[in-house]
Symmetry: C2
């Protein structure tokens, strides 16, 4: 993992951070590092996530899912952190047969369940509490679809949940393979645990390299100049303080599209509190050069662009053409073209004094994605310390959950407030 | 189409706009409306896009693609505005067999071409100039894949391009069905023309309802209180001026996920210039309640959340359960659940004094999506007038295009600048 913060320096960009300010910030990083290391040592809530490369046992997961291993399809029923980790890992491994039900859209859910061959599909239901409304609604509907299709769902369901709750009871009642969500690990930090890894193990992937990659990044030093995750977290924080209220995540690889979504959850839910935190915006290179680049380069100077790319790619030659205007493309590779676009776009922002950071992984594979996810978690935990927020909670979503419950079931204070909406309708 | 701006008013939200300020802004809207109507009358560059519901002839498109109509798959080879319109329309129509090659990722391109049954696939190559690097590279690679598979690509290729250029020549040489990109319509405003409609016609869809829906929204009056698109554009502009630098597009329907991407291009590339313009952030309800909502509700008050939902949905009953904690779900429908989450989330933002706008369409179908796209185009053109920017150009992307060309072919000023990158690498 290489993180290049050169284009976020004040001599290149505005907003940008000076070397002197970074040096001063590094003293704070050292203090935050001590806090983080203490949290890891004591397996404190949240900090425990940074121990997952050591505490997750890939063999135990592989063994536990053995009864259903090798399935043609896995349908992950979960939402937020209970779905995004698996989706991100599967995409990085090039596996398009790990699907998710992570919304309660009736049209989508019906379509997914009608298109999947259920007798070749394993359900992985994921919820720590076992009471997440969307997840349980989807599970109830999916179970009914299995019954309708005369497929025994108890032969094809794996549960990932806490020590107690409705899903734990269900697993006990039906003798289902059941994995524990580890203690002290919030959903958005759980990709490197059973939560993210079970679907891949069911599909027959070797999950050990993912944890190996994470372990490569887990030896943290107390300086931003030595630890890539700290470099990224510190620079994002410093740029936000100087006006970069938006963090646009721009991976140059289709196989990192879900990673962008995973990152957006990590960043928004961990840091978006007390009036603080960058707005994470998802994008994808090279495509979004034809969509978002105009705004990044010429709109308000409030955006840090985070470029991510693999240093190695599959090669794919572009055939020669006799069209003059396009002759420059012929004989080169599509890998060279996307890399040229990457460097050109990065330079185009620097030439317009807009800040960016470059994150490079060796390649998009198990080891690479493990290292990338872990590094970004480190960055997020450090940024949380620097902002001084409670990184590992998400209190602002409770109001809406209560209101939903009140609208569907018994009315409560929040659901009563829904009816009082101020309206000004134009039609 | 109903647009409710009640939750963007100053008595609800901060930032918010007062009724008095809106009334004053409405005078400017009237002047902008006159400018827009003049542009439409004279078919001026850009404004001509708002005439597409009248100038696009669905029967002519259907006839032109007749030789390849009814194909099992359509592969759209285009990027930016040459791909997003078709992807948005196909998703809204529930057609998952319109695929796009809209990136130059070698791993992805190889995979798509190896998985598709090429003898049942029609290629639609889309580029006004016929020289877009990514599109032509993908076309050259796709054509080679057809040849490799012994499938005659000249029988299965439709071209959408300008009056001259390499793609026009190609169509002439091989007698391919070729459709004209209409004059005066920038790519991001071209969904309602041949650019967006050809792939659907090839798949056998009736494209007339899409244009009918757009026409429903095309009769503009000079007041934001009477024209939904003006209401949305004016409120977004007014809120940006008061601190809402981010516009988070949050549709509550999986079938509008691509619409979010289409909107992000429209908003970013049209308005992100001269240091102005909101940052469009893509999200999806209900899923992102478990990801972005914490930040929207408790992070910096710099975000307008735009809710979009269909008033009618497929119904899908949730089976009863004997689990106490979940009993409230049983017997209700998934459609009721997602609608309750929509209203609860909207109210939760209002309760925290965060601004939002609600956009409602009747349902997600051809007519509904046509009306929605047209309304958002009207909003964008109005906002461009209010900001005083050149809505229909995208000058900031040229630097990077030149640099890419220089990196791959003959070196030039921009590509030379790429080599001078400032580095500060942490690994």
């Amino acid at each position: 993992m290489k993180i290049d913060i050169g284009n976020a320096l004040a001599d290149v960009a505005s907003p940008g951070v000076s070397r002197a300010a970074l040096d001063r910030l590094d003293d704070r990083v050292e203090a935050c590092h001590d806090r983080i290391e203490r949290g890891r040592r004591d397996d404190e809530f949240g900090y425990a996530a940074l121990n997952l490369p050591e505490t997750t046992d890939p063999e135990a997961i592989t063994e536990a899912v053995d009864p259903v291993a090798g399935a043609e399809y896995v349908l992950v029923v979960g939402i937020g952190g209970s779905a995004l980790g698996a989706a991100t890992l599967a995409e990085a491994l090039g596996d398009s047969r790990v699907l998710t039900l992570d919304n309660v859209d009736p049209r989508e859910v019906s379509e997914v369940l009608s298109l999947l061959p259920l007798d070749e599909t394993v359900l992985n239901v994921v919820s720590r509490s076992g009471t997440t409304a969307e997840t349980l609604a989807n599970f109830l509907v999916a179970r009914a679809a299995f019954e309708e299709a005369d497929v025994d769902w108890t032969d094809r369901t794996v549960v990932t949940t806490g020590d107690s709750g409705p899903l734990r009871d269900l697993a006990d009642d039906h003798d289902l393979p059941a994995l524990r969500v580890p203690d002290g690990v919030p959903g958005r930090f759980s990709a490197l645990s059973s939560v993210g890894l079970v679907p891949l193990a069911v599909r027959g992937h070797d999950i050990a390299p993912i944890l190996d990659g994470a372990r490569d990044a887990a030896d943290l030093s107390g300086s931003l100049y030595e630890t890539p995750g700290y470099a990224y977290g510190a620079v994002a924080y410093a740029l936000d303080a100087r006006g970069a209220a938006v963090n646009a995540m721009l991976p140059y690889a289709e196989s990192l599209d879900s990673f962008g979504e995973w990152f957006a959850q990590l960043w928004a839910e961990s840091l978006g509190k007390d009036g603080l935190g960058q707005l994470p915006a998802r994008a994808l290179g090279a495509t979004d050069q034809h969509s978002q680049l105009q705004r990044y380069r010429a709109g308000p100077a409030n955006t840090l662009v985070t470029f991510v790319r693999p240093r190695e790619r599959t090669s794919l030659p572009i055939p020669e053409t006799d069209v003059d205007d396009l002759a420059y493309l012929g004989g080169t590779g599509m890998d060279d073209l996307i890399d040229a676009e990457f460097e050109a776009t990065e330079a185009s922002l620097a030439a317009a004094n807009r800040p960016s950071v470059r994150v490079e992984l060796d390649r998009v594979d198990g080891r690479g994605i493990g290292e990338l996810l872990y590094t970004m978690e480190v960055a997020c935990v450090l940024a949380g310390e620097l902002y001084g927020v409670e990184t590992f909670t998400q209190p602002a979503v409770e109001w809406g959950k209560n209101a939903t419950r009140g609208l569907i079931g018994e009315s409560n204070e929040e659901s009563a407030a829904v009816a009082e909406k101020t309206r000004l309708v134009v039609e």
